[in-house]
């Protein structure tokens, strides 16, 4: 059976005579890129002539309708999607490859004994060993791929779902990384084995076996470094109070570096000679030529030692190696430089101590420093001026120490008249500083007037963004239009009502007249999830980036899948679709749901169904698709135990800012406006001739409730406001 399977696979791929149009896909390129990032070089078969001219293409082979998209050399692997298998592929092309990866995007059945579909691969034979990638997310069933070898060719068959489900894709990555490392590819490598093989350096370093090693190593290093100090402490504790002990310890420390300096110098020279060679090779390998910019970026990246963790995680061992080399170089350089720095330090201290001040330095420079310190301490506050104060104090200390040594600051330093002058200056500084402080605290803030629209405009199309300076009062601006006018998340004007009451959405209750609106959706979903009473007003049958499930849908014991329909009306690059769950207790971290491989313009609607355990909780959840590409999401379907569950979409305030309006009674002249992300409510009353919107904006600015810039907007398209005070 096994042999039959192998033979049929080879026959199918090598000798089928195909006669249809050829299929090309952006996703194939993206899968190739994924493989590339897992250290698997693969060529692909492609049709789309535009894609052939893309940056990945170096040359195309075969004059038939299918072309080979390859790198400079023929890669080890050929990547094919199962939807391509019933089309023409040149036998000579296939013969060039030792390994063929088939991604099953369409169901592919062979003699009823072999089935490869979007979410599984099955062979009806007990002799076939699957490569097990662990368990499925929901059901606990085995997650298998098929890896068979025949006539020196390796076939790896992977259902497409494994490539687009983030959790599964990671396991496939582990498998391929293992495959990439092993020279001879073995049949049916178990996932456990793969996992074991792929255990990265980081996990080894952090494993229990090494738990004791680090403290022991630390202890050893500490013992070596502190040996003289500890010896002194044990044998002659009284010496710890002597200056000479520390001088001796310092000398020992420097002596140690001096002793290893010649070796460090040889190592440093060797490293310096190796560097050009390494960088030249890396530049040629990665950039294709000697690229100084690339080398500079590479060095910058590898000299940032915080990246080491990432290099290990992503198995970028060359970068890790260069990074460690850089570390060794730096340490060698420090070893080389420490005795030199010590020399400079010693010479400088000796020189600074031996310097002699001029006659007038202490007399003039010292009081100057002190006066500056006095002014700084009176006018400035501690947080802003402490570093400057410390700088001045250190300089003053230095001058005083030299003056003390030379006895130049004795009592005959200043005459009485000079002391009097100094006192007068001190008094003047204190007085003027205090007056300055008092004046600046009492000084009224000067307000400047500014037009609401700026540049003396009296008419503008909404929305309008206003950037304003500090301490500004806006000039009067009368509006009386036939549409609503909002400022940020507040409704200021409605033509049908003389009074508008802005109320927090959290305090929602029904009134004769009310609207629910959201200006920006920063807290929109969170508030909806927390206060369910608003949910009924924001449901919509149209697809949006947020949804809730029907009450029946959320049960803990069910298996869930989510299906994304993605419209490829334009070329979309690959992206990860994430979902954020909002509950009544807060927002959960985004969960990667789908690794969308990207699509070309030729594909109209793609759908990907992936397993998930996001919905398996009984508590209420509002789900927000985080990375929602512009109108590319056609639908979202949720399946519970294989059956489609009820999905209700939630209105998107970016599309319809006024989410709901209930305008029932004409008797009431008050409109309640429920808004999200509102800290306090406001009441706005307008006069008969309209509303002076500047008054309201000025009040908001005074209360520090106005953003800078702020947006004046309307829910009516192409709305224009005009200043009624300007005729």
């Amino acid at each position: 059976m096994k042999n039959y399977l192998k033979s049929s696979l080879i026959l199918l791929i090598l000798f089928n005579i195909f006669n249809q149009d050829v299929y090309g896909s952006e996703s194939t390129i993206q899968y190739r890129r994924s493989l590339e990032s897992w250290n698997i070089e693969a060529d692909i078969l492609i049709y789309d002539p535009i894609l052939i001219e893309s940056e990945d293409a170096v040359y195309k082979e075969s004059s038939s309708s299918i072309s080979l998209l390859s790198g400079e050399d023929i890669a080890d692997f050929l990547l094919i999607k199962s939807s391509t298998l019933n089309r023409l592929i040149d036998k000579n092309v296939l013969n060039k490859y030792g390994s063929i990866i088939i991604i099953c995007d369409e169901e592919f059945v062979q003699q009823r004994s072999f089935l490869c579909g979007y979410d599984k691969v099955e062979v009806k034979s007990e002799n076939v060993l699957y490569t097990n990638l662990g368990k499925r997310i929901n059901s606990g069933e085995d997650l298998n791929i098929l890896s068979v070898r025949e006539s020196g060719k390796l076939f790896v068959i992977i259902p497409e779902q494994y490539m687009v489900t983030p959790e599964y894709a990671h396991r496939v990555e582990v498998y391929f990384r293992t495959l990439g490392r092993s020279q001879g590819v073995q049949e049916s490598i178990g996932y456990a084995a793969a996992e074991k093989e792929s255990i990265n350096l980081l996990s080894i370093i952090r494993s229990n076996e090494f738990e004791l090693l680090y403290p022991v190593m630390g202890l050893l290093i500490l013992a070596v470094l502190l040996r003289p100090l500890i010896t002194t402490l044990i044998l002659h504790p009284q010496k710890l109070y002597r200056k000479s002990t520390y001088q001796f310890l310092f000398t020992v420390f420097i002596h140690y570096f001096r002793a290893i300096r010649p070796y460090a110098f040889i190592v440093f020279l060797a490293l310096i000679m190796i560097y050009p060679l390494i960088l030249y090779t890396i530049s040629f390998k990665n950039a294709g030529a000697l690229d100084l910019n690339y080398i500079a970026t590479y060095l910058k990246e590898t000299f940032d030692f915080t990246n080491i963790d990432n290099f290990i995680k992503n198995a970028r061992y060359l970068r890790l190696g260069v990074s460690l080399l850089n570390m060794v170089t730096l340490i060698t350089l420090i070893i080389l430089l420490i005795p030199e720095i010590q020399n400079i330090f010693y010479r400088s201290v000796t020189k600074l101590c031996s310097l002699k001040l001029n006659e007038n330095t202490y007399k003039i420079f010292a009081p100057l420093l002190l006066f500056t310190m006095l002014i700084t301490s009176i006018i400035g506050n501690v947080e802003d001026t402490y570093s400057f104060l410390v700088l001045l104090m250190l300089l003053f200390l230095y001058i005083t120490s030299i003056a003390s040594r030379d006895n130049k600051n004795s009592n005959d330093l200043l005459y009485s008249r000079q002391k009097l002058g100094l006192f007068a200056t001190i008094l003047l500084i204190i007085l003027s500083g205090s007056i300055f402080n008092e004046y600046s605290s009492r000084m009224p803030i000067e307000l400047s007037r500014e037009d609401l629209l700026g540049l003396d405009e009296s008419v503008t199309l909404l929305p309008y963004s206003k950037l304003y300076g500090s301490n500004v009062v806006f000039d009067d601006f009368l509006i009386n239009p036939e549409f609503r006018v909002f400022v940020e998340n507040r409704l200021l004007y409605d033509p049908g009502y003389s009074e508008v009451r802005n109320v927090k959405a959290e305090d929602f209750s029904t009134h004769d007249n009310f609207i629910v609106f959201a200006y920006a959706n920063s807290k929109y979903f969170a508030t909806l999830a927390r206060y369910n009473n608003l949910l009924d007003y924001v449901k919509t049958p149209t697809i949006t980036n947020a949804f809730i499930l029907g009450e029946e849908a959320s049960r803990e014991d069910a298996e869930y899948e989510i299906e994304f329909g993605i419209l490829c009306y334009k070329e979309i690059d690959k992206y990860e679709v994430k979902i954020i769950k909002h509950t009544n207790v807060g927002k959960e971290a985004p969960v990667n749901m789908l690794k969308f491989p990207g699509c070309g313009t030729g594909e109209s609607l793609l759908n990907y169904r992936v397993p998930t355990n996001l919905f398996g909780e009984e508590k209420f959840g509002l789900y927000e698709v985080d990375d929602f590409k512009d109108k590319s999401l056609a639908y979202i379907k949720v399946y519970r135990n294989g059956r489609e569950a009820e999905v209700t979409y939630i209105k998107d305030p970016l599309v319809t800012p006024v989410l709901y309006e209930f305008l029932n009674s004409i008797s009431s002249d008050i409109l309640y406006a429920y808004s999200f992300d509102l800290d306090t409510g406001t009441v706005v009353k307008r006069a008969e001739n309209g509303l002076n919107i500047s008054n309201e904006v000025n009040v908001l600015r005074q209360k520090d409730k106005l953003k800078n810039p702020f947006i004046i907007w309307s829910d009516t398209p192409n709305a224009v406001i005009k200043n009624g005070y300007i005729k």
Partner: protein, 139 residues
């Protein structure tokens, strides 16, 4: 008027005034007699300086420690720089200024900016030394 001066200002200003008093008057003899040890003006100066530093450490904590180490290093480098032969400084400035456009040309802008800043500091220190060294110190 005093209401505009907060506690930190009173403490720091008071200590700066104390520094001024120590500078102007001979207190070291009296203090020396009091503590029965030889006391210089420098020793007395250390007291208000220490109070100010401890207060800043108390109010600013780690920010102060980090900044103090930095300032100490900068003061040392600066004071040492103005005591060395000024030709060193000018040569350092020349080397930095020459290599700046070279690095910029090769696209290593960050290093070029760093070198340019170094060149600027070398020049400023050299000029400072030329202008003030002889007024402050004598050989």
């Amino acid at each position: 008027m005093i209401n505009v001066i907060d506690t930190s200002k009173i403490l720091i200003t008071g200590n700066v005034l104390l520094l001024l008093l120590i500078y102007m008057y001979t207190m070291e003899e009296y203090v020396g007699k009091l503590v029965k040890r030889e006391v210089t003006k420098f020793h007395l100066t250390l007291v208000p300086v220490a109070i100010i530093l401890i207060y800043q450490l108390y109010s600013l904590k780690l920010a102060f420690v980090l900044s103090f180490i930095q300032i100490l290093f900068i003061v040392w480098v600066f004071v040492y720089a103005i005591t060395i032969n000024r030709l060193y400084l000018y040569w350092l400035a020349v080397i930095s200024v020459v290599f700046t456009p070279v690095l910029y040309f090769f696209g290593i802008q960050e290093l070029a900016i760093f070198l340019a800043t170094m060149g600027f500091f070398s020049l400023v220190t050299g000029v400072f030394k030329d202008l003030f060294y002889e007024k402050l110190f004598k050989e």
